[in-house]
């Protein structure tokens, strides 16, 4: 049972306070998109053993969506940040680099 900190209200809460929403930083492809792009958007997901970026909602709290950067194997949480961004903030990337030098996730490093 994880502990996560909501970057909006600052609460460090039990996992039961939150609801997971799958992989973060997906780019939406809509009408007119190629079959390959649309397939990738709907179905292709990272499955890392290590650094991962996930969407979480503080569902039994402030209701806000945020993104958590964590290690899927050790469950270390590198940080959380608001969902209104298309890529991880530099500060979070630095924290990951400090803990996992040479990490890479999709095109982010």
């Amino acid at each position: 049972m994880l502990i996560l900190t909501c970057p909006y209200c600052g609460v460090s809460g039990e996992e039961t306070e939150f609801h997971g929403g799958g992989e973060a930083h997906l780019k939406r492809f809509g009408p007119g998109a190629s079959e390959a792009d649309f397939e990738s958007y709907l179905f292709h997901r990272e499955n890392p053993k290590g650094v991962h970026f996930e969407r979480w909602r503080h569902v039994n709290g402030c209701g806000k969506w945020f993104i958590a950067a964590r290690d899927t194997a050790t469950l270390q949480v590198f940080g959380t940040y608001p969902a209104q961004t298309t890529e991880p903030p530099q500060e979070i990337r630095d924290k990951i680099t400090a803990a996992r030098p040479g990490w890479r996730w999709r095109d982010f490093a």
């Binding site: 994880l2 502990i3 007119g32 079959e35 649309f38 709907l42 050790t74 949480v77």
Partner: protein, 1003 residues
């Protein structure tokens, strides 16, 4: 025989005599006894029967590792099976029964299995699956099913209370032995908020029994002084009868408190489940002694050497008159000294080691006790009780050198640290060859959210078996835990224990080492599940190499004790059979809970009415009082129908429909989701959410809308009303309000966060009442207050106003095909308006109707229902809802998904109406069969029923279904398969059965 000694017993109070019964026989014991101790005091060594062979079994241990002494405890609704006699505190009036025998404990028919044991080797159960095929069904399955399960199930009506308790600590110390107390002292001195828990009722663990001296005093004195010191510290909490059950991610810890098991029926809960978040967890959980594997090691009277010591010292129990001690280490010699001190006879100490020259063996020799080295037990003599042992050379094959009469065998194969809690959350182990056990590897501890180790093993649980090392290790653990959490190091010095040097043990996994098949098939590893050395060796011969597979094949360690005694011995035998090292074979996975905890504690308060909180509409009380027959819908209970007099459900539904279609009906529609979507970009946003164009909807008007996910599949539907330029009210399905609200928030927060839109869920703010039927308008006009004429409030319009004095918003929307007004009123006035409508409506023949009438009427009109016509794979185009999909919009959720080739495939099953030829009702979910069979020999199908009802309006069965190219096949007849194999014929028709032109709703 086992008896109570005249003196001694550090835990019992001889002034408090307690009465109890075992299998109906009255017995007595003392306050402070465990049930096992009290049974031994009454010469009841035989406490149960083994699971597979029904062999007679006595108590082996004195703690939670006990595999044999499981009893059914209590009576009536308080009865609980499989309770450990060794951890059950005796109380006055306790009633226990033994298990797994018929007709009685002393004479058990099932013991015939013992003589047939060569037919029940490891994996016999799996072998019965193989051949002949008929034998499984008719011979093996009935036998296996009959013998499966241990103990009787409990009865309903548990009168006790159980609760969950949430707690937060810096440091939680699990184990109240000297290590735990020392660790708590160090962490407490450093200022950490500390919880110390002890699973039993007594603090101090083994040290007082083992004669340890701490700081120059008997351990018992140090324990009392330390307890007092801890109690005086405000930042330290002490709890006994609280067991660390499981360690989980990020310092989450479950602990199980047996609050009133020892005083049943008293105030307060029986069990309490502690849900703890800890910064650091110190596992000071001690160690468990291992049995030795010699022939006949399961006879009643063969016990762990430490347990024999416990019974003598703690409870003044003599397990027998003459004891033979068999060991591979120095520690067991303490048992010889304890027995002699109590005036009991130790016939011999049989030491498998070639020599025994340590201080303890010397003390035993000095006490005049015979010590035999390099010897082992060839076999234990006796049938239902130990009568003697046959000595042999440990290095040989079991040739008997001598027989020694005795009635107790105290065995010690060395000690294994209790690493369960360390391992639950990923802590790894390392093999300590010198002590022949696995202990925690501090470099591979479970890590928390910051990547820091959060479990610290201390004392014997960390492989430090000598008291002096234990205390030093524990003090360091306590100090380190506090410092890791930012506390300043304080007094972290350890108490000093007297050091008694012990010689190394000799790993002994089989006794004697060259034992042949006869002896090996009488050496028990797992007492409860009857797994023997020969079974593990057989598994290895049959190709099992993984310890996890061997465990499941042989059932080694799968009993309720989870292999606490058998694990290491079993994997040592396996590694020997495989010719590999023990660390290479490794251990099986340790999983929570440490010992079984009650299901009731896990459920806590979530029982009966509080199991699932019920959502109630403002009219619920009226429904309760007026014959409502409820059905669950989401977390609501909605009236299915309102039965009158002796009506059955079908008759009531029929009456409600007929009345609604001819007079006027009343529906509690409050459960419908009501989401307000507001903001300058609300129209643009709803254009993305719905397949329809919502931005063109005029204020004052309503529009039916469909919602899809990005796959294009329907997820919800409902009527949207535009309240003003910036504001929409979206109705969702009853179960969908929270889900759709979350769906909207997701897209607003994570995709279009720059759009100015706000969504609020107002579902419970309003009561909503549908007034439905040809006389609906007349009724509302009679109530007065607002103009509800067709001109002022046309079909698919809405208006605010006052009705019978209540502020209302009325929507002219219809899910029944009749003239219909859905009236929203503030929730607090819902019941009043409901009552007024019923009172005034009497003259119009008003009757409330339930969800079944609602469903039938919508089906008569061919309206779809989310969850009936949809199942998460259905797109609107499948349901003939193309009219509700905007062709003008560039984008909406699901548009790209619906353009995929499979979604535009003309071969998709599509919605049609179905009319049975005989007027009967099609079974729900029935498939329309097609000619031919598929590759699996199953009939091909060409459609299925999605909704099916008896229509009182049409006087026949009607249905909707999805049929291959259905709309192109009007008039065709299909065959639908019933579960009994017969067929029912139905004709494909238009799904709108009633008032095809919609004239009745638009008046």
């Amino acid at each position: 025989m086992s008896t109570r000694l005249q003196t001694g017993g550090r835990l019992i109070d001889r002034n408090q005599r307690l009465s109890f019964t075992f299998n109906g026989t009255p017995m007595t014991g003392f306050a402070g006894d465990t049930l096992a101790a009290a049974l031994l005091g009454n010469d009841q060594m035989l406490m149960g029967r083994s699971f597979k062979y029904h062999r007679p079994r006595g108590v082996v241990a004195a703690g939670p590792e006990e595999p044999n002494a499981l009893v059914g405890l209590g009576q009536g609704p308080r009865f609980e099976p499989n309770q450990r006699a060794t951890t059950t505190e005796l109380f006055d009036g306790l009633s226990a029964i033994s298990q797994n025998h018929w007709p009685s404990l002393n004479f058990d028919i099932g013991a015939v299995n013992n003589h047939l044991s060569k037919f029940f080797p490891a994996g016999f159960y799996y072998k019965t699956f193989m051949y002949p095929r008929a034998a499984w069904k008719h011979l093996f399955e009935p036998i296996v099913r009959h013998s499966a399960g241990l103990g009787k199930v409990t009865q309903p009506g548990d009168p006790d209370r159980y609760e969950h308790f949430y707690a937060f600590y810096d440091v939680v110390v699990i184990g109240g032995g000297v290590a735990g107390l020392q660790a708590a002292l160090a962490a407490g001195h450093a200022g950490a908020k500390v919880l110390v828990m002890e699973q039993s009722a007594h603090w101090g663990g083994r040290a007082p029994v083992d004669g340890v001296e701490i700081d120059g005093k008997p351990a018992e004195d140090w324990v009392s002084a330390t307890l007092q010191a801890l109690e005086d510290m405000e930042n330290v909490t002490l709890r006994s009868r609280l067991m660390g059950a499981g360690v989980y991610d990020h310092g989450y810890l479950l602990a199980y408190e047996r609050v009133s098991d020892h005083r049943p029926g008293t105030a307060g809960p029986r069990h309490r489940l502690w849900r703890i978040r800890a910064g650091r967890i110190i596992t000071a959980t001690g160690a468990i002694e291992r049995p030795l594997s010699f022939a006949g090691n399961d006879l009643p009277g063969v016990m762990l050497a430490s347990a024999v010591r416990d019974y003598v010292v703690n409870w003044a129990i003599s397990p027998g008159d003459r004891t033979v001690i068999v060991t591979n280490n120095d520690d067991a010699y303490r048992t010889a000294l304890a027995l002699q001190m109590a005036g009991l006879i130790v016939a011999a100490v049989i030491d498998a080691r070639p020599t025994a020259t340590g201080a303890l063996p010397q003390a035993v020799r000095d006490a005049g006790i015979r010590v035999e080295t390099g010897r082992g037990i060839a076999k234990v003599k006796g049938r239902a009780r130990v009568e003697g042992v046959a000595l042999c050379a440990q290095a040989g094959e079991g040739a008997v050198l001598e027989e020694i009469p005795c009635d107790v065998v105290a065995m010690s194969g060395g000690w294994s640290p209790v690493v369960h809690l360390w391992s639950h959350c990923g802590g790894k182990l390392t093999w300590d060859a010198a002590q022949a056990h696995f202990r925690p590897d501090p470099d591979r501890a479970p890590a928390d959210q910051d990547g820091a180790p959060f479990v610290i093993a201390a004392g014997a649980a960390n492989g430090h078996l000598q008291a002096a090392d234990t205390l030093r290790d524990a003090a360091a653990a306590g100090q380190n835990a506090a410092v890791a959490l930012g506390r300043d190091p304080a007094d972290g010095t350890a108490a000093r224990a007297n050091a008694v040097a012990e010689e190394p043990l000799l790993p002994v996994w089989i006794m004697p080492q060259g034992a042949g098949p006869d002896l090996r098939s009488k050496m028990w590893l797992d007492y409860q599940n009857d797994v023997k050395v020969s079974d593990v060796q057989l598994a290895a011969r049959e190709g099992y190499e993984s310890v996890e597979h061997t465990k499941r094949y042989t059932t080694l360690g799968m009993a309720t004790d989870q292999g606490k005694l058998s694990n290491i011995n079993g994997l040592a035998v396996l590694s020997d059979a495989l010719g590999s090292d023990i660390p290479q074979v490794g251990t099986t996975t340790f999983r929570p809970p440490y010992t079984p905890i009650s299901m009731a504690a896990i459920a806590g308060e979530a029982r009966g009415d509080t199991f699932l909180p019920l959502r109630r509409t403002p009219m619920q009380d009226w429904h309760d009082a007026n014959g409502a027959d409820f059905e669950p819908v989401g977390h609501w209970q909605r009236p299915y129908t309102f039965r009158r007099g002796g009506e059955d459900r079908a008759a009531a539904v029929k009456r409600e429909i007929t009345n609604t279609r001819t007079n006027v009906g009343l529906l509690d529609a409050s459960t419908l989701g009501k989401l307000v979507v507001k903001g300058p970009d609300a129209g643009k946003f709803l254009d993305m959410m719905y397949t329809n164009m919502m931005s063109t909807l005029k204020p004052g008007r309503c529009r039916y809308g469909l919602m899809c996910d990005e796959n294009g599949f329907l997820i919800d539907d409902g009527v949207v009303a535009r309240l003003d330029d910036d504001t929409f009210l979206c109705h969702t399905t009853t179960g969908g309000a929270d889900r759709i609200h979350a769906h909207m928030e997701d897209w607003l927060q994570c995709e279009w966060w720059d759009w100015q839109v706000y969504v609020a869920n107002l579902t419970e703010q309003y009561a909503q009442i549908a007034v439905v039927g040809p006389k609906a308008r007349a009724l509302l006009e009679n109530l007065g207050g607002m103009d509800v004429s067709a001109e002022a409030l046309p079909f698919m319009g809405w208006a605010d106003g006052t009705l019978a004095g209540h502020p209302v918003r009325i929507y002219r929307i219809s899910f029944s095909g009749e003239l219909s007004y859905e009236i929203a009123v503030p929730a607090g006035q819902g019941r009043a308006l409901w009552d007024t409508l019923l009172a005034v409506g009497t003259q119009f023949g008003i009757m409330p109707y339930g969800t079944e009438a609602l469903h039938v009427m919508r089906a008569e009109k061919g309206f779809i229902m989310i969850g009936d016509e949809t199942d998460g794979t259905i797109i609107p185009q499948d349901l003939g809802l193309d009219w509700a999909i905007s062709k003008k919009k560039d984008d909406y959720l699901g548009k790209r998904g619906q353009a995929r080739s499979h979604m535009t495939d003309p071969d998709r099953w599509k919605l049609v109406g179905l009319e049975t030829l005989d007027g009967g009702v099609l079974p729900d979910g029935a498939y329309a069969v097609a000619p031919g069979s598929n590759a699996n020999g199953q009939r091909k199908t060409q459609g299925r029923v999605t909704s099916t009802y008896y229509s009182p309006t049409l006087g026949r069965g009607i249905a909707m279904g999805l049929v291959h190219k259905g709309p192109d096949r009007m008039g065709e007849e299909l065959e639908f398969a019933r579960t009994d194999g017969t067929m029912m014929r139905a004709r494909i028709v238009d799904p709108v059965f009633y008032d095809k032109d919609g004239e009745k709703q638009n008046v």
